[in-house]
């Protein structure tokens, strides 16, 4: 396993446009330090997140994912995060049962004014993923592929 300390995790963060993305902006504009390893994708609502996007993230080089939406009750579209909550819980249960470290899959709620909380969350997520190290891929061999395992001799 790569040395865990100097490993730079790549984390894909889906932030809901109305709350968490604004919180990220606030954190940035008020100069709060938070680790730069997250790559932010703005989405209209946490309800927009198809669980497959998160599974596919693990095939595209991410070491972990974070989805952050408005607190239940504050959703701009009223119940987007309520629907999302069930999906996230089931997805997390599924991936954890399938053997993927639960630290890699993170969900939270963060409203537009909670810049500090957002920075703290990102710190925690980066620390959690550094803890489990780089994601070796569902085939357990990173992204290099060995031929004979794939070819007919299997």
């Amino acid at each position: 396993m790569a040395a865990k300390e100097n490993f730079e995790p790549k984390i894909l963060a889906f932030l809901c446009n109305w709350c968490s993305y604004a919180a990220a902006d606030l954190a940035g504009s008020s100069r709060m330090q938070y680790p730069p390893q997250i790559r932010v994708i703005r989405v209209p609502c946490s309800g927009r997140i198809d669980p497959f996007l998160l599974i596919r993230a693990f095939n595209s080089g991410a070491d972990g994912v974070l989805v952050s939406g408005c607190h239940p009750g504050d959703c701009h579209y009223l119940d987007g995060n309520y629907y999302a909550r069930r999906r996230f819980l089931m997805l997390k249960e599924l991936m954890q049962y399938a053997g993927i470290p639960e630290e890699r899959v993170n969900f939270t709620w963060c409203s537009a004014s909670e810049g500090k909380r957002f920075a703290a969350i990102v710190d925690r997520v980066v620390a959690r993923i550094k803890e489990v190290g780089p994601w070796e891929g569902f085939d357990g061999r990173g992204f290099a592929r060995r031929e004979e395992e794939m070819a007919g001799g299997k």
Binding site: I55, R56, Y82, R87, L89, G99, F138, D139
Partner: protein, 280 residues
């Protein structure tokens, strides 16, 4: 064939001949036997004289409910095990079929199929929704535990177990085609814009396919075992879906296919739904 199943088969044949000759249904989907193989195979009977080909035995492990989707717009009869009726209930809850277009010949007091392990974990022994009952309903309720065979394994051991298990998959998609839940026009596995899962049978693509397939089963799979019966490679298809079944039951007190009026798991929410595992 023990006399119990002989009687059931006879009753099915009588009722079907009546239904067909009275024109109540245009066809009846049921089980018959192969001419050469003598194996059970789904048959479609619309001529009353062929009603005698219909039968029911503990080998009838195909889920016939899925064929209903091919006959929308006309009245179809179906020989339904209790799990078939649960499948029909999921279809009704998701408005995929109209109740008045289906005439359900339900088998009462199902004792489970011969070599389908899923039956030992099934508590639904009488049809959930039915038009015509065959045999006497089983009185006492049973609620067998849905076993977790991988309970003692650590996370790493489970990961390795699934990698090994799914590496044998040849992506023939028999599991998808046999499963009544899989009704999408274009499956995610066939999409190339975006390409959700690679086309190879390497460990990465196979694991991704099975993970995504299981995620689509959340709150809809009734643990009937049709995927395992169809899989030619003998892969443990139900490990992931059973876990989601247990989670849906414990966390949301939800079991699919029991009440056509009840919305399915992801189609609704409660204000106080659990947030276990979320970062607070």
């Amino acid at each position: 064939m023990e006399n119990k199943y002989l009687e059931i088969s006879k009753k099915i044949q009588e009722e079907s001949r009546k239904l067909l000759s009275e024109g109540k249904v245009e066809r009846i989907i049921g089980f018959g036997r192969g001419e050469f193989t003598k194996e059970i195979t789904p048959i479609f009977v619309s001529d009353p004289d062929r009603a005698d080909e219909l039968l029911f035995t503990p080998e009838c492990d195909m889920m016939l409910a899925k064929y209903l989707l091919d006959y929308k717009g006309s009245k179809t009869g179906i020989v339904a095990k209790p799990c078939d009726t649960r499948a029909i209930t999921v279809y009704l809850a998701e408005e995929l079929i109209k109740r008045e277009e289906v005439f359900i010949i339900g088998i009462n007091d199902c004792e489970g199929l011969d070599d389908n392990d899923a039956c030992e974990e099934c508590g639904i022994r009488n049809p959930v929704v039915v038009d015509l009952e065959i045999g006497q309903p089983r009185k006492e309720e049973i609620d067998p535990e849905i076993k977790d065979e991988l309970e003692e394994m650590t996370r790493e051991e489970r990961f390795e177990y699934f990698q090994k298990e799914f590496s044998r998959c040849i992506r023939c998609y028999a599991c998808r085609e046999a499963c009544f839940v899989c009704t999408c026009d274009e499956c995610f596995a066939d999409s190339n814009q975006p390409q959700w899962v690679g086309a190879s049978i390497g460990k990465r693509d196979n694991f991704t396919f099975h993970l995504m397939r299981a995620m689509h089963m959340a709150g809809r799979c009734i643990n009937c075992g049709a995927c395992e019966q169809a899989c030619p490679e003998g892969i443990n298809m139900r490990a992931l879906t059973k876990h989601l079944y247990r989670v849906a039951k414990d966390v949301y007190q939800f079991e699919p296919g029991l009440d056509p009026e009840e919305k399915t798991l992801f189609a609704t929410y409660k204000l106080n739904d659990s947030e276990q595992g979320f970062l607070d």
